[in-house]
Amino acid sequence: MSNPDINGAYCPVPLPHNDQIVLGHGSGGKMAADLISKIFLPAFDNPALRAGDDGAVLDVPGGQIAVSVDSHVVSPLFFPGSDIGHLAVCGTVNDVAMMGARPLYLTAGFILEEGLTLDTLIRIVSSMKAAANEAGVQIVCGDTKVVQRGKGDGLYITTTGLGIIPPGISISGTLAKPGDAVILSGPIGDHGISVLAARGELGFETDIQSDSAPLNHLVAAMMSVSPNIHVLRDPTRGGVATTLNEIAAQSQVGIILNESDIQVRPAVAAVCEMLGFDPLYIANEGKLLAIIAKEDASKVISIMKETKYGEEARIIGEVTTNPRNRVLLKTEIGSTRVVDVLMGEMLPRIC
């Protein structure tokens, strides 16, 4: 490296992180998808798992049920607008609802760390109760384990949800069709930024509240006006960008978004600008993406706007034949760019 003007380069070998788990494997992006496709799917392979949705649709005598499971490991346990208990109920209720099912029952597994105060546990449990009441589901069985101090982050909650799919309903990430409208139920990024701010590590304070909410009543309202809802998905970890990429790949279609139609609250946008984040990759816990036949879009949006969690719903794009498996974004200045999946852990940029 003595002569600075020489051609060529000096680059190290890649680090695929295939020998141990790193945090990026849990970010909901490509690394997480790789774990599923390379480790879990080959081991457990079956048609329900292979569908690649957020929950499984199972045939039972007399109809179909949807089952979904979600573990919650958020830190801090409480953050503006929500807490781990509320999230644990809403997250699973939403995953079941996104299969077109009516969520009925949840189970809850608690991993508690030695030293957690009972007062904290009681607050979290009452928050779960409130969320379950709002969603109209019952928590029907549970499990408790305690780990040594230092071996858990206060508490972890795993919930499993069960719901019934009404006859004739078929909603899946595989069913997006060219010409369909892409609907987003409101502004994005609130949850991720609220948790980030609550951690207090990045030196800023905001009044952004998590959007954590049960969306099953919103979904029921939408299904009541349209039999042509093809895909429902809540854009949680990995954000809208990753979720739409998953759908594009599952359905073998393209998706074109209009940047100017995607709402981001000014405070969320400001934090993202500051840290070098793209709101399209930030987690939401009370928003849904719907892909529906274009002719039904306006009536679905009208009914969404009458509900508490869909007031700001709008069309953000459309499904196309090409480019297959890709999500494109028409930028505000009139160019087009590809929106890729989240790779690993989202990191603030240096400048």
Partner: protein
């Protein structure tokens, strides 16, 4: 959002693009020096709107990309030590050294923490008096004031457990190397607005005059970038090739931020610095003055012996010198992706290859 949305106004951007189209009569190769600008150009698709006569090549201005391998390996050695809390700007975690990255060190039990400001690292040191806290002080002139401020604060607080691993680089020596190269293609420069906000632009007239390459100090939003390009094209088309245009006057003055420069000079001094993919550029970096040796992590942890050699696998160096584009690399998008980066330009979100990959160029 104030000072952001106004500069993304589609109508205004289109107006400037039209003016560029009216002005340009022949082909010009322009380089944006700063990785933040590369990212913005590709994210907003500004290059798609430009006339074909304008070719943008991407410079070595991504601080993550150019941090030399030896400093990264030293960082990894320190971060792997027991009793150390290693703090870093976020995107340095992804950069591979000779054998690992900071993610793997964290997964193997190292205490690696992302901070947004180096002052947070000082706070961590204050809160953890029994631990050694190290901050990886990388970057161009932009991050230097905050990085030296961390040292000044730590000294003021009398902290004995805080040090920084410095890998600072400066823009003007890099421009001199690029323009002095026999294979240089660059005919005009977009200068990095935030670097100039700190340093002013008194160092650049000598470069413009010496090499007959005009320069425009440019901001980061689409309107800023389009405007900077228009200014350079005007200078080129009218033969005013020794001029500098300040197209970012809302942030940049000729002298720059004098208090910031004062503290930089108090703590740092000029030194030779290796640039990943380019090599050692004389007097192109900053390091700690000897009176701050107490805060020098290289000395405290005795890691100067670590002198790795890079393998020659990708063309990042040529990309960062504007000789080649990401597409010219046979590994681009195949063996090399942000998930499996072969080179530094694919690692950082500000790196040209990562920007091309992410936005599918």
């Amino acid at each position: 959002m104030k000072y952001v949305t106004e500069f993304r106004d589609a109508h205004l951007v289109k107006g400037v693009i039209e003016e560029i189209k009216r002005t340009v009569t022949r082909s010009w190769v322009l380089m944006e020096i700063c990785g933040g600008q590369t990212h913005s150009i590709v994210r907003h698709g500004l290059d798609q709107l430009l006339p074909t006569e304008i070719e943008l090549v991407h410079g070595p201005g991504c601080p993550v990309c150019v941090t030399p391998l030896e400093q990264i390996d030293r960082a990894h050695a320190i971060a792997s030590m027991p009793n150390v809390i290693f703090t870093s700007y976020g995107d340095m975690l992804r950069v591979p050294g000779s054998g690992m990255d900071l993610f793997s060190i964290r997964a193997s039990g190292g205490d690696v923490r992302v901070v947004y400001s180096p002052l947070d690292a000082v706070r961590i040191a204050k809160e953890n008096p029994t631990k050694q806290v190290v901050f990886f002080a990388i970057g161009f002139e932009t991050t230097a004031p905050a990085n030296v401020m961390a040292v000044i604060h730590a000294k003021m607080l009398g902290l004995q457990n805080f040090s920084i691993l410095v890998s600072h680089v400066r823009v003007p020596p890099a421009i001199r190397i690029i323009l002095g190269s026999s294979s240089n293609r660059v005919q005009g420069f977009l200068l990095a607005g935030h670097v100039c906000a700190v340093m002013g632009y008194h160092e650049y007239p000598a470069l413009a005059e010496g090499f007959h390459v005009p320069m425009a100090i440019t901001g980061f939003e689409p309107l800023d970038l389009a405007n900077g390009i228009l200014k350079i094209v005007r200078l080129l088309e009218t033969g005013r090739t020794t001029e500098i245009d300040n197209s970012y006057s809302r942030a940049v003055t000729f002298e720059g931020n004098l208090p910031a420069q004062k503290i930089i000079n108090q703590v740092f001094m000029e030194c030779d610095r290796g640039w990943r993919g380019i090599g050692v550029i004389p007097a192109s970096g900053w390091c700690l003055r000897p009176e701050y040796n107490n805060f020098n992590a290289e000395i405290r942890f005795d890691v100067t012996e670590i002198q790795p050699r890079e393998s020659e696998l990708c063309i990042a160096g040529q990309i960062m010198q504007g000789r080649k584009k990401p597409h010219d690399c046979i590994a681009f998008g195949k063996q090399c992706s942000p998930e499996h980066p072969l080179g530094a330009t694919m690692v950082s979100s500000e790196g040209a290859c990562a920007a091309y990959y992410k936005y599918d160029r």
